[in-house]
Amino acid sequence: MDFAAVIDIVMGAVEQGLIYGILALGLLITYRILDFPDLTVDSSFPLGAAITAVLTVNGVNPLLSLLCAAAAGALAGLVTGLIHVRCHVLDLLSGIITMTGLYSINLRIAGRANLPFFASATLFKNPLTKSLPDWLAPYSTLVIILLIVLAAKLLLDAYLRTKAGFLLRAAGDNASVVTTLARDVGSVKIVGLMIANALVALAGAVMAQHQRTFDISMGTGTMVTGLASVIIGTNLFKSAGWMKSTTMVIIGSVLYKLCVSAAISCGLEAQDMKLVTAVLFLLILVAAQTQFKRKKVRIHA
């Protein structure tokens, strides 16, 4: 393998890792802040993709289509939240119910299981990016992704600093405090799920723009990828108190994608991707646990 090919693979992994970083931001809310195992994401990711695909094919501005995708994701989160909070269904099951139902809805939105849009102007291939100077052109995709990830991260950071954000953090930290503040924990959870799934759908939409195609199966393993990113990020930088957890999970996501790419380029086929994703996730979980155990022993010693 020559040097240029390696650079290509690394670039591709970093781009994908950053896109999945948006997804990790969403899972940071459900998994870390709310402690809610939200499986909705496996369908809200392709939901965002389906919406951006259909809108782009029909000539809507790609950037606008991203906002529509995020709004649809928020709706999916709302459904899961309502099932859990108002119908008192177990958190895990609420997500599974929405995920299963969304599968059909995603197919309806896209009209079919696979919707390529190579011919349309996308977020990354449009008249503006074509007019860029030669030296910048190879990096335009990376720069655009970085801008979107940064915007999502800064917005989430800002939200978590507001009163509403405080309430969201409190709901995950200690729900009884929210109740004694005369606020409904259920509503706070629903808002959290909406924001999380909006981010996940946004990630799915950006991914579809990047791949220039929607595929119904692209959501499989979303939860695993997102969780792996969150766990890698927050465990690796646990002692870096100055770093925000939003930054941690984005870096975690890039590292995870780099690991998966490295494994694939060591002779595995593209079809092994999900297996690699799952096995790597298992390794990370075990590693995070042993690290935790060792720390415990040290405290007792």
Partner: protein
């Protein structure tokens, strides 16, 4: 005024573990009174608080605040006028948030939790002034996560958070039980001064008979879902710890303990 009317409550109905805790239990708490509640484990003290706050539903009867029926009002809505401190110091604070963030959160109770800044930087001076007299050194730790504080520091913070906005009722659920004697004393004195200053109608469950005798203007002893002792005014002032212990022993003998 707080009022419980003909409350009945059975745990695990229809099973072998069925236990009837309250049947036709009534209690009136006058505005501005500070009621201490003692009683053995399982006598219904904490259930009484949970029923008042709506943490557990009742099978029958009515709960009234100032004559208004709140029996079916949701728990979180009742806390608009109620402050509550739990036995477990970690129940009243958010461990991963800083002292400043916790105080700002509690300071906003009763108002909108919208998109304005969460941390109330303008009030930092007030917060410090509130924490300094406690002598726990919390005023210099505003930026520290509450999870790293001691139980006593956390419980003090929980008490301040529960009472920093205008409320009418204060519910204390064995709030000094998990603390060492010295810290318990500090928290108890702070409690009393807050109750006096804000003229809160207070219901305090405690296992500390001395606190029950020393603080408050009314004393209840619960046993098997009944108030077996109810003293107020002069009678309450004359009651001693030994009197209470005597009644406790009598009850225990009756139960065959």
């Amino acid at each position: 005024m707080l009022e419980l009317r003909n409350i009945s409550k059975t745990y695990n109905p229809g099973t072998v573990h069925e236990t009837c805790l309250f049947s036709d239990f009534s209690l009136k708490i006058e505005e501005g009174s500070f009621v201490s509640v003692v009683g053995s484990n399982g006598s219904g003290k904490t259930s009484l608080l949970n029923i008042l706050c709506g943490s557990i539903p009742v099978d029958g009867g009515q709960i009234l605040i100032d004559g208004k029926d709140i029996t079916h009002r949701k728990e979180f809505r009742r806390y608009a006028r109620i402050g509550r401190v739990y036995q477990n110091p970690s129940m009243g604070t958010c461990p991963s948030m800083t002292i400043l963030e916790n105080l700002s959160l509690a300071d906003n109770k009763g108002r909108r939790y919208g998109l304005t800044a969460g941390a109330n930087k303008k009030r930092i001076g007030d917060y410090k002034a509130m924490l300094a007299p406690l002598g726990l050194g919390l005023e210099d730790k505003l930026g520290i996560a509450v999870g790293s504080l001691s139980g006593g520091q956390r419980q003090t913070l929980a008490l301040l958070m529960a009472t920093m906005t205008p409320i009418d009722f204060l519910i204390l659920d064995e709030h000094t039980a998990a603390l060492d004697p010295k810290t318990a004393e500090i928290v108890m004195r702070l409690t009393n001064s807050i109750v006096q200053e804000k003229k809160l109608t207070t219901l305090m469950v405690t296992h500390n008979l001395r606190y029950a005798v020393e603080y408050g203007d009314r004393l209840l002893m619960m046993h098997q879902g009944q108030a077996v002792l109810d003293k107020s005014g002069e009678e309450k002032i004359r009651t001693t710890v030994d009197d209470l212990l005597g009644i406790f022993n009598e009850i225990s003998i009756e139960c065959g303990n």
